[in-house]
Protein backbone atom coordinates (compact mmCIF):
# COMPACT_ATOMS: atom_id res chain seq x y z
CA UNK A 1 0.00 0.00 0.00
CA UNK A 2 1.21 3.49 -0.78
CA UNK A 3 1.20 6.07 1.93
CA UNK A 4 -1.65 8.56 2.11
CA UNK A 5 -3.00 11.31 4.33
CA UNK A 6 -5.59 9.99 6.73
CA UNK A 7 -8.59 12.00 7.85
CA UNK A 8 -11.10 10.81 10.38
CA UNK A 9 -14.31 12.82 10.34
CA UNK A 10 -17.55 12.68 12.28
CA UNK A 11 -19.76 14.73 9.95
CA UNK A 12 -20.60 14.47 6.28
CA UNK A 13 -19.72 18.12 5.83
CA UNK A 14 -16.27 17.53 7.24
CA UNK A 15 -15.82 14.61 4.87
CA UNK A 16 -16.69 16.78 1.92
CA UNK A 17 -14.32 19.45 3.12
CA UNK A 18 -11.51 16.94 3.46
CA UNK A 19 -12.18 15.60 -0.03
CA UNK A 20 -12.18 19.09 -1.48
CA UNK A 21 -8.81 19.80 0.05
CA UNK A 22 -7.23 16.63 -1.28
CA UNK A 23 -5.41 16.07 -4.52
CA UNK A 24 -7.00 12.68 -5.04
CA UNK A 25 -9.16 11.91 -2.04
CA UNK A 26 -11.20 8.78 -1.50
CA UNK A 27 -13.85 7.97 1.04
CA UNK A 28 -13.24 4.94 3.23
CA UNK A 29 -16.44 3.17 4.21
CA UNK A 30 -16.06 -0.49 5.20
CA UNK A 31 -12.87 -0.80 3.19
CA UNK A 32 -13.47 -4.44 2.29
CA UNK A 33 -12.81 -3.79 -1.39
CA UNK A 34 -10.83 -0.59 -1.23
CA UNK A 35 -8.16 -1.77 1.20
CA UNK A 36 -7.30 -4.95 -0.75
CA UNK A 37 -7.17 -2.81 -3.90
CA UNK A 38 -4.78 -0.39 -2.21
CA UNK A 39 -2.72 -3.26 -0.80
CA UNK A 40 -2.18 -4.49 -4.33
CA UNK A 41 -1.17 -0.94 -5.25
CA UNK A 42 -3.94 -0.80 -7.83
CA UNK A 43 -5.21 2.43 -6.24
CA UNK A 44 -3.11 5.23 -4.86
CA UNK A 45 -5.32 7.90 -3.30
CA UNK A 46 -3.47 10.87 -1.84
CA UNK A 47 -5.97 11.13 0.98
CA UNK A 48 -8.33 8.76 2.72
CA UNK A 49 -11.36 10.15 4.49
CA UNK A 50 -12.62 7.63 7.03
CA UNK A 51 -16.39 7.71 7.49
CA UNK A 52 -16.34 5.20 10.34
CA UNK A 53 -17.31 7.77 12.98
CA UNK A 54 -20.02 9.56 11.03
CA UNK A 55 -23.09 8.70 13.07
CA UNK A 56 -25.52 10.41 10.69
CA UNK A 57 -24.66 7.80 8.04
CA UNK A 58 -25.61 4.83 10.16
CA UNK A 59 -28.85 3.15 11.03
CA UNK A 60 -32.01 1.62 9.66
CA UNK A 61 -35.39 3.31 9.65
CA UNK A 62 -38.74 1.96 8.51
CA UNK A 63 -41.46 4.47 7.95
CA UNK A 64 -44.62 3.73 6.06
CA UNK A 65 -43.68 1.77 3.00
CA UNK A 66 -40.01 2.66 2.95
CA UNK A 67 -36.92 1.15 4.50
CA UNK A 68 -34.13 3.69 4.73
CA UNK A 69 -30.66 2.37 5.40
CA UNK A 70 -27.74 4.64 6.23
CA UNK A 71 -24.79 4.40 3.88
CA UNK A 72 -22.44 3.27 6.64
CA UNK A 73 -24.73 0.50 7.87
CA UNK A 74 -22.91 -2.80 7.63
CA UNK A 75 -24.13 -5.85 5.76
CA UNK A 76 -24.28 -7.70 9.07
CA UNK A 77 -26.52 -5.02 10.56
CA UNK A 78 -28.88 -5.15 7.60
CA UNK A 79 -28.94 -8.94 7.67
CA UNK A 80 -29.65 -9.04 11.41
CA UNK A 81 -32.19 -6.23 11.44
CA UNK A 82 -35.59 -7.55 12.46
CA UNK A 83 -37.17 -4.53 10.76
CA UNK A 84 -35.53 -5.30 7.43
CA UNK A 85 -36.26 -8.98 7.84
CA UNK A 86 -39.91 -8.12 8.32
CA UNK A 87 -40.27 -5.47 5.66
CA UNK A 88 -38.00 -6.78 2.88
CA UNK A 89 -36.76 -10.23 3.85
CA UNK A 90 -35.06 -10.63 0.48
CA UNK A 91 -32.87 -7.61 1.24
CA UNK A 92 -31.85 -8.96 4.64
CA UNK A 93 -31.04 -12.29 3.03
CA UNK A 94 -29.02 -10.62 0.29
CA UNK A 95 -26.99 -8.72 2.86
CA UNK A 96 -26.45 -11.90 4.84
CA UNK A 97 -24.86 -13.60 1.84
CA UNK A 98 -22.33 -10.94 0.91
CA UNK A 99 -18.74 -12.05 1.47
CA UNK A 100 -18.31 -13.85 4.77
CA UNK A 101 -19.21 -13.00 8.36
CA UNK A 102 -16.09 -10.91 9.04
CA UNK A 103 -16.48 -9.03 5.78
CA UNK A 104 -20.14 -8.37 6.58
CA UNK A 105 -19.13 -6.88 9.90
CA UNK A 106 -17.19 -4.15 8.08
CA UNK A 107 -18.61 -3.84 4.57
CA UNK A 108 -21.33 -1.24 4.08
CA UNK A 109 -24.25 -0.55 1.79
CA UNK A 110 -22.85 2.82 0.75
CA UNK A 111 -19.41 1.44 0.05
CA UNK A 112 -20.82 -1.37 -2.04
CA UNK A 113 -22.98 0.75 -4.31
CA UNK A 114 -20.41 3.56 -4.62
CA UNK A 115 -17.84 1.03 -5.80
CA UNK A 116 -20.33 -0.62 -8.16
CA UNK A 117 -18.39 -3.79 -8.67
CA UNK A 118 -20.06 -5.61 -11.58
CA UNK A 119 -20.42 -8.67 -9.35
CA UNK A 120 -21.71 -6.94 -6.23
CA UNK A 121 -25.10 -7.91 -4.80
CA UNK A 122 -26.61 -4.65 -3.54
CA UNK A 123 -26.89 -2.96 -6.96
CA UNK A 124 -29.43 -5.60 -7.99
CA UNK A 125 -31.60 -4.75 -4.98
CA UNK A 126 -31.30 -1.00 -5.48
CA UNK A 127 -32.43 -1.32 -9.09
CA UNK A 128 -35.12 -3.97 -8.71
CA UNK A 129 -36.73 -2.35 -5.73
CA UNK A 130 -36.66 1.06 -7.38
CA UNK A 131 -34.70 2.48 -4.46
CA UNK A 132 -33.61 6.07 -4.13
CA UNK A 133 -30.03 6.98 -3.29
CA UNK A 134 -29.82 10.06 -1.11
CA UNK A 135 -26.57 11.98 -1.15
CA UNK A 136 -25.40 15.16 0.53
CA UNK A 137 -26.45 16.95 -2.63
CA UNK A 138 -29.52 15.28 -4.09
CA UNK A 139 -31.62 12.20 -4.55
CA UNK A 140 -30.75 9.80 -7.36
CA UNK A 141 -33.16 7.17 -8.64
CA UNK A 142 -31.81 3.63 -8.38
CA UNK A 143 -32.35 3.21 -12.12
CA UNK A 144 -30.02 6.11 -12.82
CA UNK A 145 -27.36 5.45 -10.22
CA UNK A 146 -25.24 2.70 -11.78
CA UNK A 147 -23.74 4.06 -14.98
CA UNK A 148 -21.06 1.52 -15.92
CA UNK A 149 -18.42 -0.83 -14.63
CA UNK A 150 -17.18 0.66 -11.34
CA UNK A 151 -18.96 3.88 -12.33
CA UNK A 152 -21.90 5.65 -10.75
CA UNK A 153 -23.81 8.89 -11.10
CA UNK A 154 -21.94 10.29 -8.09
CA UNK A 155 -20.02 13.50 -8.64
CA UNK A 156 -16.64 14.20 -7.14
CA UNK A 157 -16.99 14.96 -3.45
CA UNK A 158 -20.55 13.66 -3.36
CA UNK A 159 -21.29 11.46 -0.38
CA UNK A 160 -24.01 8.82 -0.19
CA UNK A 161 -26.08 9.41 2.92
CA UNK A 162 -28.67 6.66 2.70
CA UNK A 163 -30.67 4.45 0.41
CA UNK A 164 -34.46 4.27 0.64
CA UNK A 165 -36.01 1.02 -0.47
CA UNK A 166 -39.77 0.93 -1.15
CA UNK A 167 -41.26 -2.16 0.47
CA UNK A 168 -42.36 -4.58 -2.28
CA UNK A 169 -45.29 -6.95 -2.11
CA UNK A 170 -42.92 -9.83 -2.68
CA UNK A 171 -39.25 -10.08 -3.52
CA UNK A 172 -36.45 -12.60 -3.80
CA UNK A 173 -32.80 -12.57 -4.72
CA UNK A 174 -30.98 -15.56 -6.18
CA UNK A 175 -27.24 -15.55 -6.42
CA UNK A 176 -24.98 -17.92 -8.25
CA UNK A 177 -21.68 -17.59 -6.46
CA UNK A 178 -18.21 -17.56 -7.84
CA UNK A 179 -16.66 -20.54 -6.06
CA UNK A 180 -13.43 -18.63 -5.42
CA UNK A 181 -14.38 -15.07 -4.56
CA UNK A 182 -17.97 -15.75 -3.54
CA UNK A 183 -19.07 -12.70 -5.51
CA UNK A 184 -22.04 -13.12 -7.82
CA UNK A 185 -21.36 -14.75 -11.17
CA UNK A 186 -25.00 -14.00 -11.72
CA UNK A 187 -27.47 -12.53 -9.26
CA UNK A 188 -31.10 -11.84 -10.04
CA UNK A 189 -33.39 -9.75 -7.87
CA UNK A 190 -37.11 -10.01 -8.56
CA UNK A 191 -39.60 -7.68 -6.87
CA UNK A 192 -43.32 -7.44 -7.19
CA UNK A 193 -44.46 -3.93 -6.52
CA UNK A 194 -47.77 -2.18 -6.95
CA UNK A 195 -47.28 -1.37 -10.60
CA UNK A 196 -45.75 -4.66 -11.73
CA UNK A 197 -42.70 -6.84 -11.48
CA UNK A 198 -39.18 -5.44 -11.60
CA UNK A 199 -36.16 -7.61 -12.28
CA UNK A 200 -32.51 -6.60 -11.92
CA UNK A 201 -29.44 -8.61 -12.82
CA UNK A 202 -25.93 -8.30 -11.43
CA UNK A 203 -22.72 -10.16 -12.21
CA UNK A 204 -23.75 -11.03 -15.73
CA UNK A 205 -22.73 -7.83 -17.49
CA UNK A 206 -20.28 -4.98 -16.83
CA UNK A 207 -22.89 -3.17 -14.79
CA UNK A 208 -26.00 -4.24 -12.89
CA UNK A 209 -29.11 -3.47 -14.90
CA UNK A 210 -32.85 -3.94 -15.16
CA UNK A 211 -33.74 -7.02 -17.14
CA UNK A 212 -36.52 -5.53 -19.25
CA UNK A 213 -37.02 -8.59 -21.48
CA UNK A 214 -37.66 -10.70 -18.40
CA UNK A 215 -39.98 -8.06 -16.95
CA UNK A 216 -41.90 -7.96 -20.23
CA UNK A 217 -42.18 -11.73 -20.37
CA UNK A 218 -43.50 -11.82 -16.84
CA UNK A 219 -46.02 -9.09 -17.69
CA UNK A 220 -46.61 -8.29 -14.08
CA UNK A 221 -47.19 -11.90 -13.05
CA UNK A 222 -44.84 -14.02 -10.96
CA UNK A 223 -44.99 -16.89 -13.40
CA UNK A 224 -41.65 -18.70 -13.61
CA UNK A 225 -42.60 -20.59 -16.75
CA UNK A 226 -42.86 -17.34 -18.69
CA UNK A 227 -39.10 -16.85 -18.38
CA UNK A 228 -38.29 -19.85 -20.56
CA UNK A 229 -39.12 -17.97 -23.73
CA UNK A 230 -36.89 -14.98 -22.95
CA UNK A 231 -33.80 -14.55 -25.10
CA UNK A 232 -30.83 -13.37 -23.06
CA UNK A 233 -28.28 -11.78 -25.39
CA UNK A 234 -25.09 -13.78 -24.99
CA UNK A 235 -22.95 -11.10 -26.59
CA UNK A 236 -23.77 -8.69 -23.79
CA UNK A 237 -22.59 -11.07 -21.06
CA UNK A 238 -19.29 -11.02 -19.19
CA UNK A 239 -16.98 -13.92 -19.94
CA UNK A 240 -14.07 -15.09 -17.83
CA UNK A 241 -12.44 -18.26 -16.53
CA UNK A 242 -15.28 -18.75 -14.07
CA UNK A 243 -18.17 -18.53 -16.50
CA UNK A 244 -18.50 -18.05 -20.21
CA UNK A 245 -20.99 -15.58 -21.66
CA UNK A 246 -23.18 -18.46 -22.78
CA UNK A 247 -23.25 -19.97 -19.31
CA UNK A 248 -23.97 -16.61 -17.71
CA UNK A 249 -26.86 -16.02 -20.09
CA UNK A 250 -28.23 -19.41 -19.12
CA UNK A 251 -27.77 -18.70 -15.42
CA UNK A 252 -29.65 -15.42 -15.70
CA UNK A 253 -32.71 -17.36 -16.71
CA UNK A 254 -32.25 -20.05 -14.10
CA UNK A 255 -31.69 -17.56 -11.29
CA UNK A 256 -34.61 -15.43 -12.50
CA UNK A 257 -36.86 -18.46 -12.54
CA UNK A 258 -35.78 -19.48 -9.08
CA UNK A 259 -36.20 -15.96 -7.75
CA UNK A 260 -39.72 -15.84 -9.16
CA UNK A 261 -40.45 -19.22 -7.58
CA UNK A 262 -39.02 -18.02 -4.27
CA UNK A 263 -41.38 -15.04 -4.35
CA UNK A 264 -44.31 -17.43 -4.50
Amino acid sequence: MYEFNYHKVDKVDAAVEALQGAEDGKLLAGGQTMLPTMKHRLASPSDIVDLGDVAELKGIQVSGNTVTIGAMTTHAEVAASSEVQKAIPALAKLAGNIGDPAVRNRGTLGGSIANNDPAADYPAAVIALGATVKTNQREIAGDDFFTGMFETALDDNEVIVSVSFPVPDKAAYMKFENPASRYAIVGVFVAQISDGVRVAVTGATPCAHRALPIEEALAGELNAAAIEAVEIPVDKMNSDIHASAEYRAHLVKVMARRAVEACG
Binding site: E3, Y6, K8, K39, D50
Partner: protein, 162 residues
Protein backbone atom coordinates in the same frame (compact mmCIF):
# COMPACT_ATOMS: atom_id res chain seq x y z
CA UNK B 1 3.07 12.65 0.50
CA UNK B 2 2.29 12.10 4.11
CA UNK B 3 5.02 10.61 6.14
CA UNK B 4 3.77 11.63 9.50
CA UNK B 5 3.12 9.05 12.13
CA UNK B 6 -0.29 8.73 13.67
CA UNK B 7 -0.92 7.85 17.30
CA UNK B 8 -3.41 5.10 18.00
CA UNK B 9 -4.71 4.03 21.36
CA UNK B 10 -6.88 1.01 21.83
CA UNK B 11 -7.55 -1.87 24.13
CA UNK B 12 -6.07 -5.20 23.12
CA UNK B 13 -7.03 -8.26 25.12
CA UNK B 14 -8.18 -6.01 27.92
CA UNK B 15 -5.01 -3.96 28.11
CA UNK B 16 -4.69 -0.35 27.02
CA UNK B 17 -2.05 -0.03 24.33
CA UNK B 18 -0.92 2.78 22.13
CA UNK B 19 1.59 3.24 19.40
CA UNK B 20 2.68 5.26 16.42
CA UNK B 21 1.71 3.92 13.03
CA UNK B 22 1.82 4.98 9.42
CA UNK B 23 -1.51 5.72 7.82
CA UNK B 24 -1.08 2.58 5.73
CA UNK B 25 -0.27 0.28 8.65
CA UNK B 26 -2.82 -2.51 8.82
CA UNK B 27 -4.28 -3.61 12.13
CA UNK B 28 -2.67 -7.02 11.66
CA UNK B 29 0.74 -5.40 11.21
CA UNK B 30 0.26 -3.32 14.33
CA UNK B 31 -0.70 -6.40 16.33
CA UNK B 32 2.11 -8.57 15.00
CA UNK B 33 4.96 -6.13 14.60
CA UNK B 34 4.37 -3.50 17.25
CA UNK B 35 2.62 -5.48 19.94
CA UNK B 36 4.37 -8.78 19.23
CA UNK B 37 1.04 -10.60 19.13
CA UNK B 38 2.03 -12.98 16.37
CA UNK B 39 -0.86 -15.38 16.89
CA UNK B 40 -2.85 -13.44 14.30
CA UNK B 41 -1.61 -14.56 10.92
CA UNK B 42 -1.55 -13.32 7.34
CA UNK B 43 -2.49 -15.95 4.80
CA UNK B 44 -3.66 -13.90 1.83
CA UNK B 45 -3.98 -10.36 0.56
CA UNK B 46 -7.55 -10.45 -0.65
CA UNK B 47 -9.58 -10.86 2.53
CA UNK B 48 -10.39 -14.47 1.70
CA UNK B 49 -8.51 -16.81 4.02
CA UNK B 50 -9.43 -15.58 7.49
CA UNK B 51 -6.09 -16.36 9.16
CA UNK B 52 -6.13 -12.79 10.47
CA UNK B 53 -9.58 -12.76 12.09
CA UNK B 54 -9.74 -10.90 15.41
CA UNK B 55 -12.64 -9.36 17.25
CA UNK B 56 -13.13 -5.62 17.26
CA UNK B 57 -15.75 -4.33 19.64
CA UNK B 58 -17.10 -7.85 19.92
CA UNK B 59 -17.37 -8.61 16.22
CA UNK B 60 -15.15 -10.67 13.96
CA UNK B 61 -13.11 -8.65 11.49
CA UNK B 62 -10.28 -9.41 9.12
CA UNK B 63 -7.31 -7.57 10.59
CA UNK B 64 -5.57 -7.53 7.21
CA UNK B 65 -8.44 -5.50 5.76
CA UNK B 66 -8.52 -2.82 8.39
CA UNK B 67 -6.17 0.06 8.97
CA UNK B 68 -4.66 0.31 12.42
CA UNK B 69 -5.98 3.87 12.60
CA UNK B 70 -9.50 2.56 12.06
CA UNK B 71 -9.13 0.55 15.26
CA UNK B 72 -8.29 3.64 17.28
CA UNK B 73 -10.41 3.70 20.42
CA UNK B 74 -11.74 0.20 19.94
CA UNK B 75 -11.53 -2.98 21.94
CA UNK B 76 -9.68 -5.73 20.14
CA UNK B 77 -9.47 -9.36 21.16
CA UNK B 78 -6.94 -11.70 19.57
CA UNK B 79 -6.25 -15.41 19.98
CA UNK B 80 -3.82 -14.51 22.76
CA UNK B 81 -6.66 -13.04 24.79
CA UNK B 82 -8.86 -16.11 25.13
CA UNK B 83 -7.29 -18.45 27.67
CA UNK B 84 -7.74 -17.81 31.38
CA UNK B 85 -4.25 -18.30 32.71
CA UNK B 86 -3.22 -21.86 32.01
CA UNK B 87 -6.76 -22.91 31.17
CA UNK B 88 -7.75 -22.99 27.54
CA UNK B 89 -10.97 -21.32 26.46
CA UNK B 90 -13.66 -23.98 25.86
CA UNK B 91 -13.42 -23.35 22.11
CA UNK B 92 -9.65 -23.82 22.17
CA UNK B 93 -10.12 -26.99 24.20
CA UNK B 94 -12.70 -28.25 21.72
CA UNK B 95 -10.24 -27.82 18.87
CA UNK B 96 -7.68 -29.85 20.79
CA UNK B 97 -10.16 -32.56 21.78
CA UNK B 98 -11.52 -32.94 18.25
CA UNK B 99 -8.21 -32.64 16.37
CA UNK B 100 -9.47 -29.46 14.73
CA UNK B 101 -6.00 -28.30 13.78
CA UNK B 102 -2.93 -29.65 12.05
CA UNK B 103 -0.30 -27.09 11.05
CA UNK B 104 -1.95 -24.49 13.29
CA UNK B 105 -1.64 -21.59 10.88
CA UNK B 106 -5.34 -21.06 10.18
CA UNK B 107 -6.28 -22.03 13.73
CA UNK B 108 -6.33 -18.61 15.45
CA UNK B 109 -8.59 -17.21 12.75
CA UNK B 110 -10.78 -20.30 12.85
CA UNK B 111 -11.22 -20.00 16.60
CA UNK B 112 -11.97 -16.27 16.50
CA UNK B 113 -14.53 -16.92 13.77
CA UNK B 114 -15.96 -19.84 15.75
CA UNK B 115 -16.57 -17.56 18.73
CA UNK B 116 -18.33 -15.08 16.48
CA UNK B 117 -20.50 -17.91 15.14
CA UNK B 118 -21.49 -18.86 18.67
CA UNK B 119 -22.19 -15.22 19.56
CA UNK B 120 -24.65 -14.93 16.72
CA UNK B 121 -26.08 -18.44 16.46
CA UNK B 122 -26.02 -19.82 19.97
CA UNK B 123 -24.67 -23.01 21.45
CA UNK B 124 -26.50 -25.62 19.40
CA UNK B 125 -25.08 -25.49 15.91
CA UNK B 126 -25.94 -27.83 13.07
CA UNK B 127 -23.30 -28.90 10.61
CA UNK B 128 -24.70 -26.94 7.66
CA UNK B 129 -24.72 -23.71 9.65
CA UNK B 130 -21.13 -24.15 10.76
CA UNK B 131 -19.96 -24.97 7.26
CA UNK B 132 -21.69 -21.92 5.80
CA UNK B 133 -20.40 -19.65 8.56
CA UNK B 134 -16.82 -20.83 7.97
CA UNK B 135 -16.98 -19.54 4.40
CA UNK B 136 -14.37 -16.88 5.11
CA UNK B 137 -11.76 -19.15 6.67
CA UNK B 138 -9.58 -21.42 4.58
CA UNK B 139 -7.76 -24.48 5.92
CA UNK B 140 -5.56 -26.66 3.73
CA UNK B 141 -4.82 -29.37 6.29
CA UNK B 142 -7.94 -30.71 7.92
CA UNK B 143 -10.56 -30.95 5.18
CA UNK B 144 -12.72 -29.06 7.73
CA UNK B 145 -14.29 -32.29 9.03
CA UNK B 146 -12.75 -31.93 12.48
CA UNK B 147 -12.97 -28.14 12.50
CA UNK B 148 -16.73 -28.42 12.09
CA UNK B 149 -16.86 -30.95 14.93
CA UNK B 150 -14.69 -28.70 17.07
CA UNK B 151 -16.88 -25.65 16.54
CA UNK B 152 -19.99 -27.62 17.39
CA UNK B 153 -18.39 -29.10 20.51
CA UNK B 154 -16.90 -25.78 21.56
CA UNK B 155 -20.25 -24.05 21.17
CA UNK B 156 -21.88 -26.65 23.36
CA UNK B 157 -19.16 -26.37 25.96
CA UNK B 158 -19.53 -22.59 26.05
CA UNK B 159 -23.18 -23.14 26.88
CA UNK B 160 -22.17 -25.34 29.77
CA UNK B 161 -23.10 -28.60 28.05
CA UNK B 162 -19.79 -30.13 27.17
Amino acid sequence: MANNKINVSLSVNGKAVSGEVESRTLLVQFLREQLGLTGTHIGCDTSQCGACVVHMDGKSVKACTLLAVQADGSEVTTIEGLAQGAELHPMQQAFMDNHGLQCGFCTPGMIMTALDIVNRNGNELDEATVRKELEGNICRCTGYHNIVKSVQAGAKAMGGNS
